[in-house]
């Protein structure tokens, strides 16, 4: 909540980083160290640095704007939220062994991947082998993010060549 209310962008950036760190701890608690590593490094580390860089380029304070209360927007948000919460009621409990995700593919992965792939870390074998094309797509997305930022911000040469001066704001997109 504070992230939405605070005007000082520096504080917002710090809060976002802390939030990422907390989420990373949550992931560790739920036995997903891979995701936790990523979240901690990207969310709490790199993203904060990039946002700090943006703040250094632009401004520290958000411009104050008039608060307008939009009832229609509130209604839409409330209905969507209610629908989402209603949908979660249908989901299996956390860690339920009877959940659809655990009866169809998981047994095959957990039982056969050590013989099929020959490496003990199943997360890696699923990511890199069974879903190799998916991972290739992710790599291309990451690359596209870099291309987008380069196009918007220009190359990273130190106060080097003249870039097409206009662009100041956020880069095209962030690394996922």
């Amino acid at each position: 909540m504070a992230i939405v209310r605070i005007r000082s962008l520096l504080a917002v950036t710090m809060l976002t980083g802390i939030y990422s760190l907390v989420v990373a701890v949550l992931f560790v608690l739920m036995d997903a160290p891979d995701v936790a590593l990523t979240e901690a490094a990207v969310g709490a580390g790199l993203m904060v640095i990039l946002m700090l860089g943006t703040i250094a380029l632009t401004t520290r304070e958000e411009r104050p704007h008039r608060m307008r209360h939009n009832l229609m927007a509130l209604l839409v948000v409330a209905v969507t939220g209610a629908a989402l919460i209603y949908a979660t009621l249908d989901m299996p409990r956390f860690g339920d062994p009877e959940a659809p995700a655990h009866v169809h593919l998981s047994p095959r992965f957990t039982q056969e991947s050590p013989e099929e792939i020959g490496i003990p870390n199943m997360v890696t074998s699923v990511l890199a082998s069974y879903r190799g094309i998916d991972t290739l797509g992710e790599a291309v997305v990451v690359f596209a993010a870099a291309v987008g930022v380069l196009l918007v911000l220009g190359s990273g040469a130190v106060r080097g060549r003249k870039t097409s001066g206009r662009s100041r704001g956020e880069g095209g997109d962030q690394a996922p």
Binding site: P33, D34, L37, T38, A41, V42, G45, L46, I49, L50, G53, T54, A56, L57, E115, E116, I117, G118, I119, P120, N121, V123, T124, S125, L127, A128, S129, G132, I133, T135, L136, E138, A139, V140, V142, F143, A145, A146, V149, L150, L153, G154, S155, G156, A157, V158, R159, G160, K162, T163, G165, G171, Q174, A175
Partner: protein
């Protein structure tokens, strides 16, 4: 940054450890959590710390931006090359089995290869993003 001697000393101790940890995540990914993506990000984080201490010029002497741009493409191409190599050897796209005579060894070889590609891409992209944000000055 020369004034902050504690920061300097601690960080110069930490940076090699962070880098080694990045390589550990990269090449130990088959046995422990982690993989190319995480390794690349951690590698970038080490460079960010280095830049905060010694300045952008020093970091860009180590890995020039042009190299980072090229490497981010090379990583993706390495990944795709494994896919096409398996096709040339008669398998499906990214079907690593055909790479080596032994199925398991082939799979492992392929996974290590593509993880390396992912790691290179992510590290280079992270550096590219960081360079482009840090390399700009307000009064351009």
């Amino acid at each position: 940054m020369n004034r902050y001697i504690v920061l300097r000393v601690i960080s110069s101790l930490m940076i090699p450890i962070i880098l080694i940890y990045a390589f550990y995540i990269q090449f130990h990914g088959e046995y422990s959590p982690g993989g190319g993506f995480q390794a690349g990000i951690v590698f970038t984080a080490a460079f960010v710390v280095y830049t905060l201490l010694y300045g952008l010029e020093a970091a860009q002497r180590a890995i020039p931006p042009e190299a980072a741009h090229a490497l981010s493409a090379i990583g993706v191409l390495l990944f795709a090359a494994f896919g096409f190599a398996t096709m040339l050897l008669g398998g499906n796209f990214l079907e690593y089995k055909v790479l080596l005579p032994n199925d398991q060894a082939g799979e492992t070889f392929g996974i290590i290869g593509i993880e390396l590609g992912v790691g290179i891409t992510v590290a280079a992209v992270g550096l590219t993003l960081f360079y482009s944000f840090a390399g700009r000055r307000t009064g351009e």
